[in-house]
Amino acid sequence: MTYQTHQFCDEPTVRDAAQKAALAIPPVWPLTTSVAVNPFLGQSSEGLAQTAARLDRITGTAVTMPAEWYIQRFETGQITRDDIDTALQGVKTKDLPDVDAVLKAAQQHQSETLPCVADLATDHSGTDWPGILADRMGVWAGGFFDQGQALWSANDGQSIWDAWRSFAAHDLTPEILGLSGFAEHVTALPRSAEIALTQSVQRLGLSPEGLETYFHQQLMKLGGWAQYARHHQWQADLAGTPDHGMRDLLATQLVWQVAILDQYDDALAQDWAEICAKHATPLTVTPAQRALGILQTAADYAQQRTLAEKLVAPVENAPVDRAKVQAVFCIDVRSEVFRRAFEAQDKGVQTLGFAGFFGLAAQHHDFASDVPENRLPVLLNPGVHSVSGTDWHSHQDRTARITARATRAWGRFKLAAVSSFAFVEATGPIYVGKLIRDVFGLSGNKAPDAPKPRLTTELTLDQQVDAAETILGAMSLTKDFARIVMIAGHGANVTNNPHASALHCGACGGHSGEVNARLLAALLNDPGVRKGLQDRGITVPADTLFIGALHDTTTDQVTLYDGDQLTDNHRDDLAALRDWLGAAAKIARSERALTLPRAENQEDVAKRALNWAELRPEWGLAGCSAFIAAPRHRTTGRDLGGQSFLHSYNWQSDTDFKVLELIMTAPVVVASWISLQYYGSTVAPDVFGGGNKLLHNVTGGIGVIEGNGGTLRAGLPWQSVHDGETYQHDPLRLSVLIEAPRDAMNTILEKHPDVRELFDNGWLHLFAMDQDGHMAWRYAGDLTWVAFNQVDQNQTAAKAA
């Protein structure tokens, strides 16, 4: 018992450690409004190899692909010896003298995961304590976080700690399964989670140094439940209110561990003390982890070579006097395919890329809905409020609500204890029709068609002009306006898919983007705003019409909200636009058909949207690997394969680099979250992936569990990154290409350390494009840059591995 150092773990120490551990866990949003989250959010202050060591210790999770994956790419020539060598040069390590040593070391990975008390108890007793614990926490958390699945709700506003204690004090299951006295143990707990946590730490005999990885491990074992609580904390942080959910959850975990330790004390004490001691040792990166990190960097480099070649290849780009149509799309990689197809329709078609919330951070109330929808990036607080429909719609609104309430009453009739029998006997045979309708996909999915949204936040004309000026500036659209400017949000079109919101627009908080697009179009069509813009040097011709639209990413149909404003003077323009959009949709679908299983042609792609058994209606952002902020003509006519976020940016007109700062701190960060979510769900599907869709069981209306119960599964389902035969997403770290002076970028990185660490620690790659739009400079960390086209780039890989 020489390891016992509990006298050092006082309450403030434990509190601090618990706060730090909470930050190590990424949040997960509910499936109604899910957005991509970087699973390594809490590890961005360290590199991949260090993170590998950390996660290996606590969960045994690898953060790279297995060595064979890289070796296979090496053998087929996708990754060259030079790629690996360059990556190796960036890492100063004596263990790995050359490329062969890297390849050899990578294959000798050995996990050194530290078991917790429950694991030790399993080895000792043969009872699956971690499984029982996950099952019990799942039953409790499922009820606690339920948003309306169960008619008898469990949550009446208690804190996590109080609610769990109340549950666990009544739950007889642990005792039936052999954990004697558990309910009593729970009943005797202090009312303060903090005190209980400290007492548990002391009982477990952890030292202050051991708390970091131990707490992190205990929260990780809760999987999505901890991430969901972290989401509550995230929201509370944004609102500036306190939240102790993570601490409470941690306390519940430790109470379990203590109860199990108490039960098997004599048998486990010695092993456990050793593990406590190991938690207190610093993390060491093994040569295998280092080597895998190098190989990952090499894989990133290989992809960057291909991208650089694409950007150099000559293409014909004839400039036109005045575009017939300008279309602003979301930067989402799925837009790239459509934009390319759309521009191919006519020389007069120009497209731009901008974050899909179009600068309007709107908290929106949909038609006949009480639910506030944050149609904005989750990094922000709402800036404006909006609602669908005007006062004129109030009667329709009321009728729609009554119908919805009657439907809800019928739904409760269907599910309640006794009435469900009457429901079945009175209406069961109707389901013959429903089964036939759904098996043939006959119900049809309409594009969102709520009445025109309007801002309810009172903005003065000046404020409106300010907003319009900022937004137009940020999308580098301040002159040469076409007759039609289409603002296209995007949304997916899927049936029976719990992860639908993950396919919608992340910048709109997991909603489809039509509301923000329509709001912006209305703002820019306002004569007062136009006049105000003119006074500030932005002249929008009188014949320019802004029009809101929605790009359906599953079927590539574009819906125009042309009823929002008078279009009498643009009838011919709109007719031409519709033709082009229709033709572009076919081309885009044909391209998507190539990678979608069972899609022979473009028509098959559109049908997937209505198929209730379809697990892969579209590929979402799978394959995303680059972010390019540059004028569109740098990429026009180049097939980027639907793998690039394209942000329009013209640094020459960005006098104080405010727009650059915005791009590097908002869209780039959001893109990194998306890229790393795909990365995490691919390399560590068991921990950061959403599991097997075939087994998904939607719980509480907020998430999915696999099968009967246990932990909530956050991240992307296996079927969203893998097509059954091969990966549809190559786990690569995003390459950010920006056409802007390096000094300007350095200044911004210096000002935003949280963004800088993403690049310095290799979670993202940064490139500066030159005056020809070629990848000219690679950011090499610590605000230094090296020329990209030199083969010998000694520093380039610094820390990237």
Binding site: G126, G142, R405, V418, S420, A613, G709
Partner: protein, 505 residues
């Protein structure tokens, strides 16, 4: 010979299962099976009910019984089977083992089709065992998954017991009546031996249809892909109820067994229905719903309301197949309930008014459909409808509910009541010549009905006012026990060491 036509349906599906490439052939096999069954319905309409010649010896073997009961079940199972296989073809696309999966689904479906057309005891037993066997394999589609293994072990115990029970029942029947032909047995005079047979049949049915306390495996079958749940809950689980209805004449000779069935069924119905209220995962909630619905169906069998039990099987299967296959919409469904604002909570007075209005609707619509011709048992069970409709009405009669909502819920209530009586009349009319009539109730039946009405009524009232008491500290504690299904599952796990793992050291 023409009565052998239905046998082609399972034969074809077994063929699909056996000869590989099941992913390609399964849906077409199922569609062909549906066509064969439809043709069989025409045969039944033209030739009347009958049993095919026996393929076997000594009165034992394979033979098809074609009558209203078997044709209804055949149509139901073939239809749902086709839907589920069509769904699976896309759903499991490129999943490793899809061929194996489709083959097992075909084999399970074929077994159920074989079961429901059984004209002979041997076929009945063989098909009964086959459904259990193939389902077990499907349950272990992911054979490494600890949850699946645990559920499968529980299911195996229950399945084995039900098989032993059925075999014993069949031996008694064969011994007593000297034939394996089911139609002959049903028409014979039933003596004391029939009571034993009825008891064993009842036990087999209870175990097969997940009745309390043997239900707990059913709530864990979500460890297999969704279509398995759909086929299980809409097809296989009905086998217990089908058995009781098939042997309705034998069952009627044992009132005491029927009474026990009514008690277990009623208990399971309430138990499952209440536990369902607390379940936060959609598939788990649906599984508890199935337990409850099967309980209600067994209660109907216990009250000798066999045509209604059959109606319940059909109606529930269709609903549940759809509910499982569309369970991915649960996120949208829950979100939609939150949009139109808070639920208007009815107080005691509103609930009282709702019960009176429901009673009035029941009396009026019932009279139109001819309430007087119905058995006492059917009228008593109709109270369930009153309770259910009252719940619907109460939501519209709450003080905070606007008038328009009251009208809409009243409209739904009228529609539901009309649907209820129409379907009931239809089912009674269809089954009049196939299934025995419900006998007049004796004191035991009266007592059972009164207990059922009181307990269902009590739960209905409590349910209607749930938001008013759900968060009382006592209720909060009770909710924990209910969420855990009163620990039947945990005790079962303990009994069979469900949570044990191989020690790693």
């Amino acid at each position: 010979m023409i009565y052998l036509v239905p046998l082609l349906a399972p034969a074809l599906l077994f063929g699909c299962a056996l000869f590989g490439r099941s992913t390609r052939t399964a849906e077409w096999g199922a569609l062909a099976a549906l066509a064969i069954v439809t043709v069989s319905a025409v045969i039944l309409a033209l030739a009347g009910s009958g049993t095919s010649p026996l393929i076997g010896a000594a009165g034992l073997g394979l033979s098809t019984r074609l009558d209203m009961l078997s044709i209804v079940m055949l149509l139901l199972v073939a239809f749902i089977g086709w839907i589920v296989l069509r769904y699976s073809k896309t759903y499991l696309d490129r999943e490793p083992g899809q061929d194996r999966f489709m083959a097992l689904m075909c084999a399970t479906l074929a077994s159920v089709l074989l079961l429901v057309q059984s004209g002979n005891l041997v076929q009945l037993v063989a098909a009964w065992i086959a459904t259990g066997f193939f389902l077990q394999k499907l349950l272990l589609f992911y054979a490494d998954c600890p949850g699946a293994i645990r559920a499968a072990r529980k299911k195996l115990w229950v399945t084995r017991l039900s098989e032993v029970s059925l075999i014993a029942a069949v031996i008694i029947l064969f011994w007593t009546y000297g034939t394996g032909d089911i139609a002959t047995i049903l028409l014979a005079d039933h003596g004391t031996a029939a009571v034993w047979a009825a008891g064993l049949l009842a036990l087999a049915a209870i175990l097969k249809s997940a009745q309390f306390p043997s239900h707990s495996w059913l709530t864990e079958v979500m460890e297999a892909p969704t279509p398995v749940s759909a086929l299980l809950h809409a097809g296989v689980i009905n086998a217990g109820g089908f058995l009781l209805i098939r042997f309705a004449d034998v069952m009627l000779s044992a009132p005491i067994i029927l009474a026990i069935l009514a008690m277990i069924g009623g208990l399971t119905a309430l138990f499952g229905g209440i536990v369902m209220l607390t379940q936060s995962a959609v598939k788990t909630s649906l599984a508890w719903s199935t337990i409850a619905q099967m309980g209600f169906m067994i209660l109907q069998c216990g009250l000798a309301l066999f045509p209604l039990a059959l109606l319940h099987i059909v109606a529930h299967s269709l609903y549940k197949a759809h509910a499982f296959l569309s369970s991915g919409t649960a996120v949208d469904v829950v979100a939609a309930t939150r949009r139109p604002g808070p639920v208007a909570i009815p107080n005691a007075a509103a609930v009282g008014r709702a019960f009176l209005v429901a009673l009035a609707i029941y009396a009026i619509i019932g009279t139109i459909f001819g309430l007087t011709g119905k058995s006492v048992q059917a009228i008593a069970l109709g109270a369930i409808l009153i309770f259910g409709v009252a719940y619907l009405l109460a939501q519209g009669l709450a003080d905070a509910a606007p008038r328009a909502l009251t009208k809409l819920t009243a409209g739904y209530a009228l529609a539901a009541t009309t649907g209820y009586f129409a379907l009931q009349s239809l089912s009674e009319w269809m089954m009049a010549s196939t299934l025995p009539a419900t006998p007049a109730p004796g004191p035991l039946e009266w007592a059972l009905m009164i207990i059922a009405l009181l307990s269902f009524g009590g739960v209905a009232v409590a349910q209607a006012m749930l938001p008013l008491w759900a968060h009382h500290p006592v209720a909060r504690g009770l909710r924990v026990h209910i969420t855990n299904g009163f620990y039947i599952n945990a005790m079962f796990d303990r009994l069979i060491n469900g949570w044990s793992v191989k020690k790693s050291s």
